[in-house]
Symmetry: C2
Subunit: 211 residues, 2 copies
C-alpha cells in the first residue's frame, strides 16, 4: 500500500526541518535561533514549520513523544508471573546494556548534544517534564487496571516508578556530560539501577538511618 508521493514528501520535509533546526540549535543556542531562520535554511515558509511542529520546543522534543508509554507498555506486555517492578527493572537494565538514548547512556556526539541542549534550555527542560507527567498517568492507568486496587495507590506507585527512573537517567547524563564514556559509566549505572529498584521494592525503610 506504500505511502503516496505526498506522504513521502511530508515525512521528508519534516525531517529536513528537524535536522536543520537541531543543527542550528546545537551550533548556536535554542533561544538564538528563530523559527524564521530555520524556515529559511530549509527553503520553506515560516508557517510550514508551524504546520509540522506545534511549537518551537516540539521540534526538539517531538521524538520523545514515541516513548511516553514505554513504561506502561512494559507493564502491560510482561510475562505472566513477573511483577510490574521486576519487568520495569529488566527493561531498564536491557536498555542500559544497549546504550539506549532513552536511559541516558548513549554517548554518540549528536545524541549527547541534543541531551545537553534540553538540559541547558529552561523552556525545553520544563517541557520534558510534561512527558514524565504523561508517562505517569499512562502507567497509573495500567497499574490500576491490572491490580484491582484503588486509584490512589496506583497513582503513588506510578509516580515512584517514573521518577525513580528519571533520577537514574539524570545521573547517567550527568556523568556523560562530565566526559565519561558510556561504556565506563555502564557498570555503575547498572549497580545504581539495581539499588534504586531495590529501594522501590523494599522501600526507604533501611535508608536514612532508621530501623
Amino acid at each position: 500500500m506504500g505511502l503516496g508521493l505526498r506522504e513521502t514528501k511530508k515525512l521528508q520535509t519534516q525531517r529536513e526541518i528537524w535536522e536543520a533546526a537541531i543543527r542550528m540549535f546545537v551550533e548556536r543556542d535554542f533561544d538564538d535561533v528563530s523559527v524564521a531562520e530555520i524556515a529559511a535554511a530549509v527553503q520553506v515558509s515560516r508557517k510550514t514549520v508551524f504546520n509540522y511542529f506545534a511549537t518551537k520546543e516540539d521540534i526538539v522534543l517531538s521524538p520523545m513523544e514515541a516513548h511516553v508509554d514505554d513504561a506502561a507498555r512494559v507493564v502491560r506486555e510482561r510475562a505472566p508471573g513477573e511483577t510490574a517492578v521486576a519487568a520495569l527493572r529488566r527493561d531498564y537494565l536491557d536498555r542500559l546494556a544497549q546504550r539506549d538514548a532513552s536511559v541516558g547512556l548513549n554517548d554518540a556526539p549528536h545524541v549527547l548534544a541534543v541531551m545537553r541542549l534540553i538540559q541547558t534550555t529552561p523552556a525545553l527542560q520544563v517541557r520534558a517534564f510534561a512527558f514524565h507527567q504523561r508517562a505517569q498517568e499512562l502507567l497509573e492507568r495500567e497499574l490500576a487496571a491490572q491490580s484491582g486496587r484503588d486509584d490512589v495507590t496506583a497513582r503513588v506507585a506510578a509516580a515512584q516508578i517514573i521518577y525513580t527512573r528519571a533520577a537514574l537517567v539524570a545521573e547517567n547524563l550527568r556523568r556523560l556530560f562530565a566526559g565519561e564514556p558510556a561504556d565506563a559509566v555502564h557498570p555503575d549505572a547498572s549497580a545504581d539501577a539495581e539499588r534504586a529498584f531495590d529501594l522501590l521494592e523494599k522501600g526507604l525503610g533501611d535508608y536514612c538511618g532508621g530501623p
Copy 2:
C-alpha cells in the same frame, strides 16, 4: 527598623497587581487576559508588571516559591532519632489536619479557584512541575548531607518522596474539584497518605501482585 515608604509602596503595588491579575485570570482565563489589561486595571505601565514578575506565569506561581524547600527543611529540622520519611509523614499529616493549601486540602473558594487555574492551564501546570524539580534537588542535597550515602541513592530517594507527595496532593485536589468539601476528604486523604508513606518505607514489593 520598619520598611521605608518605598518598600511599603513596592509591596503594595506588587500585591495590587497580583490581586487584579488573579481575579481576572479566574473570571476569564489565563490566556484570555493580556499583561496590558492587567497593567491597565492597576493603573500601571505594562513594563512595571514585568518589573515585579519576571513572566506572566510568575504572577500566579510566585507564591509557591516560598514552599520549594519545605521538604528539605522538614528533614533538616527533624528531631534526632526520627527518620527522614517519618518526619515527612508527620509534616504532611499535620498539614492535612490544618487543611493547608500546600497539600491540596483547602477548599476556600479563592484558593480552589487558583488551584483550578493552575491545573487547567498547560503553561502553569508545566511551570508548577519545575517547582517539584527544585524541591527534589534541595531534598536530595539534604539527604546526601545527612546520610553518608552516595548521591545517586539520595537522588532516587528524593525523587520518590517528592513525587509521592505530589501524587497525594493531586488526588486531594481532584476530589475538591469534584465538589467534595475538605472536611469530607480529610479522612481518606489521611488514609491515603499513610498507605503512600508505607509504600515509601516498605516498598512496592507487596503491591502489583508480588511473590
